[in-house]
Amino acid sequence: MLKKQNKNKKAFISIFAIFFSAIVVSVLTALFVLFIKQIQILNTDYASFQAFYTSDSAFECGLYKESQISAPEDSVFLPANKDNLGYCADAGDLVWQTAPSSSGGPTNSTANFSLTTDQGNFCGQMFVTKQQPNTEVNHTMKLYGQSRNCSDTGSKVIEREIDFIY
């Protein structure tokens, strides 16, 4: 009887030690994974800043194009001047995704440019809504900075937006 009890005690100590260490190791692994996630989130944060500056660059570009015209009807965001789009950034020209076309009312257009960074290419997008020249209604620009190539359509993207009404 005494022998059996003693044998059970030894087994209990070993099993307890293994179980306890297994719990400790799994808790530590979970915490470690959380830390790795935090670092990933931090990189997302960095990409978010770059996405913001990409949209800000798009804003600068749009503003420059609009500030260079001598008359409202000279805007490159109007169908008659769509061939004068020119460049915007250091990587490639500004490209129409949707060129402005006339249908009587406001003219909508979308232009893209690419910004090369250490973290890969970022895409700047300009959505411009131009009212008919000499109308009292405001024009709008929606500028987006995206953490991916303009040609990519992947699901994961960090995007920042600037809205400009003038």
């Binding site: 293994i18 190791v25 670092i39 800043f49 770059q50 500056y53 600068e60 570009c61 420059y64």
Partner: protein
């Protein structure tokens, strides 16, 4: 009776080597695991802290370059022609115009902590007794005739590893009225 007791004592066996090794391994894991985790945590929190500050400093450099363009386009264009390699950019606080000059080495591009009147401290390119861990410079590339690519680079050395945050922006030669 004496004989029975002796027999019982004889039957009490010690742990086998395998049991002892497993127990030692399990206990070692319990001790080494938390210690390693705490050490890694300190390392990561230091890394995260450095990266957040470096991102903020890079952001500040881009904003200072934009601010100089807004205040004085001619001066911004002079800076652009001078800073194709690396330049420091600094700012003295509200109402002052950003200043720039060439910096080509770690010691020239280093940021120092300067106390403000309200008790806070600012990262500046002015020498003080309190050197920060951070170094910062900007590079400006002219694209065509009217746009500039401004890249702000802030870096520090964390446990001998260079930690770098680069942010980029296109600035156009627009006169801001």
């Amino acid at each position: 009776m004496k004989k029975i007791t002796k027999k019982i004592i004889k039957n009490i066996k010690a742990f086998t080597i395998l049991e002892t090794l497993i127990t030692i391994l399990a206990i070692s894991l319990m001790i080494v695991g938390p210690v390693a985790f705490v050490a890694k945590s300190f390392h990561y929190s230091d890394f995260i802290n450095h990266k957040i500050i470096a991102t903020g400093l890079s952001q500040e450099a881009l904003e200072l370059a934009t601010s100089l363009r807004n205040l004085d386009l001619d001066e911004f264009q002079k800076m652009a022609s001078k800073c194709s390699k690396s330049c420091l950019i600094d700012w003295g606080g509200n109402g002052s115009t950003p200043t720039y000059s060439k910096c080509e080495s770690d010691s020239e591009c280093q940021l120092f902590l300067l106390p403000n009147s309200d008790g806070s401290r600012s990262y500046r390119h002015i020498y003080s007794s309190e050197a920060s861990d951070f170094y910062r410079y900007i590079e400006i590339t002219k694209n065509g005739s009217q746009s500039y690519t401004v890249e702000a680079n802030t870096y520090s050395y964390n446990n001998g590893i260079k930690l770098e945050v680069k942010l980029k922006k296109i600035i156009f030669a627009i006169v801001v009225k």
